[in-house]
């Protein structure tokens, strides 16, 4: 008797009871309904696993469940292929399409757990992306140097330029400051509120760097202007201190964090230029694909730039304030520069 078959559902409440008088004969299940009943358990299991995994992460599943996922996914996709050819139950096909799509993107859409992804980023992706951007980095560096030179020469020629170029960065330093005042800024040090200073510097610089990158989308014009402005400010300070004969000390003061920070800003500018270039001159790729390729490459660089700026802020907020010996400052700054250069242009990015 058909009623005893396992795939019979309980009768729905809204259905009429089996006729008046003698119970009517039940229709034998359709082949497509049998097909569904045999596989429904798998689909529901997959649905349940996906729900749990999506709500938190893949870590919410046990090893056994993780291994079952691809099998269940394949079973569901092939069931969808069969159902399309044999079943006319629209709701079933819609359900299977939705479930397969969710499972597909869970399995193929993202790349595993966060730990290995981070390791891969530091071991290979970041240096490789920086290495690939070497031309843009060189261009960005040239802009920075050009800006610095211009700022230096302008302020050397007429110190009235200083306030225009230094803007809000002057911290009370003006062309009228005495040598002693200028010196104090470099060496007064202190240990009060350093973590505040560091966090402010980090957030401010990282925000500027991200903006520099994003503005690259507008054909890189705003990015190059930002880099030039940075250089001008730097040059203006150099000239101000050089006028008082303490340029070397300023370089030491800047050097501690500057090698890291300016490198990071140069890279952010390079990423912006890369994007702008891809928008303007896509080359052999279509403009859409060219932009996507440039965006991904420079996205990796930008993640790294934020890390670099974090390091720079620590150096600036703590080390610079605590270390007031010139040669030690040069040593730290120089060592950082060597470390970054070796990391980016050494073997790390060339592996594989």
């Amino acid at each position: 008797m058909a009623i005893s078959l396992p795939f019979r559902r309980k009768r729905d409440a809204h259905l009429p009871d089996g006729g008046i008088g003698a119970p009517a004969r039940r229709l034998d299940p359709l082949p497509s309904a049998k097909f569904r009943a045999e596989r429904e358990g798998d689909w529901r299991r997959l649905d349940d696993l996906l729900n749990r995994a999506e709500r938190r992460s893949a870590a919410a599943l046990s090893d056994e469940e993780l291994l079952a996922l691809p099998t269940l996914y394949r079973a569901t996709v092939s069931a969808l292929a069969v159902a399309r050819e044999t079943s006319l139950d629209r709701a079933l096909i819609d359900y299977l399409e939705g479930l397969s799509t969710r499972a597909y993107f869970f399995l193929y859409g993202v790349r595993g757990r966060i730990g290995p992804r981070l390791r891969q980023f530091f071991r290979h992706d970041w240096p490789a992306a920086v290495l690939a951007l070497w031309k843009e980095t060189l261009g960005s560096l040239l802009l920075l140097v050009a800006g610095t030179l211009a700022g230096y020469l302008l302020v050397r020629a007429d110190s009235g330029w200083f306030m225009a170029l230094a803007g809000g960065m002057s911290e009370g330093r003006t062309p009228d400051s005495t040598t002693q005042q200028l010196r104090d800024v470099l060496y007064k040090g202190g240990t009060d509120g350093l973590e505040m200073l560091a966090s402010f510097l980090f957030t401010h610089n990282a925000q500027m760097a991200l903006m520099c990158f994003a503005l690259g989308f507008l054909l890189a014009v705003p990015s190059t202007i930002l880099i030039l402005m940075n250089g001008l400010t730097l040059g203006a300070f150099l000239a101000l201190y050089a006028n008082h004969g303490i340029g070397g000390e300023l370089v030491g003061w800047l050097c501690v964090h500057g090698t890291t920070e300016l490198f990071a800003i140069t890279l952010a500018g390079a990423a912006g230029i890369r994007i702008g270039w891809a928008v303007a001159f896509p080359g052999r790729l279509s403009r859409l694909d060219g932009m996507a390729a440039a965006g991904r490459q420079s996205g990796t660089v930008m993640a790294g730039v934020v890390v670099m700026l974090f390091v720079a802020a620590l150096l600036e907020g703590f080390v610079r304030q605590l270390v007031t010996t010139d040669w030690l400052r040069f040593l730290i700054g120089g060592a950082m520069l060597v470390v970054w250069l070796a990391y980016f242009y050494g073997p790390a990015g060339r592996r594989r």
Binding site: P16, E54, A81, L92, D94, M291, G299, M302
Partner: protein, 286 residues
């Protein structure tokens, strides 16, 4: 189910099965973004209140520093990594997108990598945050200035309406990262309609009255069980196949009749399907 085919892209899985992906439309995207903005503002306010409360309730200068530190870093992280954090996770969606059943995928269904997510969200800086911050800061320092407001709004509008200007509904960030935003609504598995119906012998001639299109429409009518519609459909079918049926105006009796006819029709059409004949609708005479 009628689909708007202009926004559907086909993805062929490695198993060789095509899956239709429905791109999210501009309204859904905007809705998700507004939800996310509200969540962002809400959490900034909540964190601020909490930190002020903590700083006030614990005496001493040090706690003020810690609170200010947390606030600065927290604000930065929220502003820059709220979207990135959620979209890089397996679900590929921020809470706002999740609420609207959307997710971010790599264009053409490849892997969605972290760098793409970073790139697509870094551009929000230029699209939305920069002009907003500019307007707020200029308002705070110089008072109301029409020129700045107009420039800010104009700037935002260029990026805001960008998704409306291309077929794939891409905003600048999507262009740059090579991503799509699609709809993946969670559909429940609806009960099998052909199960457990009475044997109600229809002749082959009666079952040959309709095709697949009518079958799917009938399926919807039964599932929705809207009494006037059920009554009308019952009447129409009885007319067409020339059957006497005592209707109870869309009540259980009519639904039972429709279910029986649905099961019969589906069985017949599926049988034909196995022999390679797909009858599209009632006008199809094959």
């Amino acid at each position: 189910m009628p689909r708007e085919t202009r926004r559907v892209r086909l993805l062929v899985t490695p198993e060789g099965v095509p899956l239709p992906l429905e791109l999210a439309d501009a309204g859904q995207r905007a809705g998700a973004f507004i939800l996310d903005l509200l969540i962002l503002f809400g959490s900034v306010i909540a964190v601020s209140i909490f930190l002020i409360y903590v700083a006030k309730s614990i005496p001493g200068q040090a706690i003020n520093h810690v609170a200010a530190l947390l606030w600065t870093i927290g604000l930065f992280l929220l502003r820059n990594f709220y979207f990135t954090w959620f979209e890089a996770r397996p679900r590929g969606a921020t809470p706002g997108k999740r609420a609207l059943g959307l997710r971010v995928i790599a264009r053409h269904g490849g892997r969605l990598t972290l760098d793409a997510v970073i790139a697509r969200n870094a551009l929000r800086e230029v699209e939305a945050f920069l002009p907003i911050m500019l307007m707020i800061s200029s308002l705070a320092t110089h008072g109301y200035d029409t020129l700045i407001v107009v420039c800010g709004l104009g700037w935002t509008a260029i990026f805001l309406f960008m998704p409306l200007m291309n077929r794939d509904r891409l905003r600048a960030g999507d262009l740059l990262a090579g991503t799509w935003v699609i709809r993946v609504p969670k559909r429940p598995l609806l009960p099998e309609l052909s199960a457990d119906v009475e044997e109600n012998a229809f002749t082959e001639a009666e079952l040959d009255a309709y095709g697949v299109f009518e079958l799917e429409t009938l399926e919807q009518v039964i599932r929705q069980a809207h009494a006037p519609a059920v009554a009308t459909v019952t009447y129409t079918i009885c007319q067409r196949i020339g059957r006497q049926h005592w209707s109870d105006d869309g009540g259980p009796r009519d639904i039972a009749f429709l279910q029986a006819y649905y099961a019969g029709l589906r069985g017949r059409l599926e049988q034909k399907l196995l022999f390679g004949k797909r009858r599209a609708d009632k006008h199809d005479r094959s």
